[in-house]
Symmetry: none
Subunit: 230 residues, 2 copies
């Protein structure tokens, strides 16, 4: 799932610029020219991050930020300010607002993207880190390694994420769509049947006999389930 960014900015030149570069970096961008409907929309759509111009008509950016912070659903969403004069920075900082960064105008596209990414990285729930052992399978996320019966086995990034997800939810059945939601980065145009292909690839790597799987079982009509063999 691509991160989505809500941008509140009245100057169309700037918002166009911001949108263009953030989209180029793989984000989904939604621009609001005024602050009026932002909070309402946000509660429904839950953006990953806000970028607010300090001065926007309809509602002051600072006020908007405060409102975001006071809305339970949005309180923990990171906020980045766009500021024109550095003098304004005082106000931001003086006013406790809990913005996570600010970007002074004018800014370079690269700086914009880098800062957004940096803030998101801070907020990203870190991936599972502890190594995991199931049967004869060992998964070490921090090294991104997989051992099967003592042998190191290479995996692609997607294979690894999917296997790790399964192994951390032993015994639970997941539909293909659930797996796409939780494991795939950008689910937009992925067919559920692609999961089948990855299940096959994983089975080839972990199952002694891929034809009769002992770990990654098919649950006909539902999806797949990962089991610890007896």
């Amino acid at each position: 799932m691509k991160p989505s960014i809500f941008v509140v900015e009245d100057d169309p030149d700037i918002s166009r610029l911001v949108r263009h570069h953030l989209e180029g970096a793989g984000f989904v961008v939604k621009v609001f020219a005024t602050g009026n409907t932002v909070v309402m929309e946000s509660e429904r759509q839950r953006p990953t991050l806000f970028i607010l111009d300090i001065m926007v008509p309809g509602r002051d950016g600072l006020e908007l930020c405060r409102q975001i912070r006071q809305t339970p659903l949005l309180a923990s969403t990171p906020v980045i300010f766009l500021t024109a004069k550095s003098g304004e920075a005082d106000r931001i900082l003086g006013l406790e607002l809990g913005a996570d960064d600010y970007i002074p105008k004018p800014f370079s596209p690269r700086e914009l993207v880098a800062r957004v990414k940096a803030v998101l990285r801070r907020f990203e729930r870190p991936l599972s880190q502890s190594p995991l052992k199931v049967g004869e399978i060992e998964i070490d996320p921090s090294a991104m390694t997989l051992s099967v019966r003592g042998q190191l086995v290479g995996t692609t990034a997607t294979e690894f994420r999917l296997l790790d997800y399964f192994a951390r939810h032993i015994g639970r059945v997941f539909t293909r769509d659930q797996l796409l939601d939780s494991v795939w980065r950008d689910t937009a145009y992925v067919t559920p049947r692609s999961v089948d292909v990855y299940v096959r690839r994983i089975r080839e790597k972990i199952e002694p006999d891929p034809e009769s799987p002992r770990y990654l079982k098919t649950v006909r009509g539902a999806g797949y389930r990962f089991e610890a063999p007896k």
Copy 2:
């Protein structure tokens, strides 16, 4: 063990801001509104770093710094000042006080975190850091020398830091962004792909055959991992 930071700052708006962002960056933060109990507490808890507002009631920040410097247990703990006027900077840094950096208000969260990290990096016992041997590679940080198969090999500063970082975290996968965060000096906006270039330069120096690396492995879709060859 997370580094712990003692912040002496009477303005609650600012101290909240500082705490929030430093905690977000993975530090343990303790805030003091006055300088009165700081030294005593510090002798027991041994913070990794101090951040002092120049003007704090109860005890002047400068005075506090001087006291820290004269306390044997704390003398080598880095100190960063928060200053309002940039004019004060010279005095703090240059003269008697032995502060290690200052952050002029207003500051951006990013700058705050970047400076703290930079100072900590400088203080990471650069001298006592032990030489390191991995396979046929020997790294001596105190001399900044690299030997490969008994031969001294020249490196640039950045190459050396990156290699050293890898060699001290054997087996772990690092994304390009993580490497930029931990190894690069100024938190400027460097393209993640620059890491690739340095990896190549390091490989040329340490790998018998840079085409099929035995130490510095690529982890497709994730980043790089340094291994001790078997």
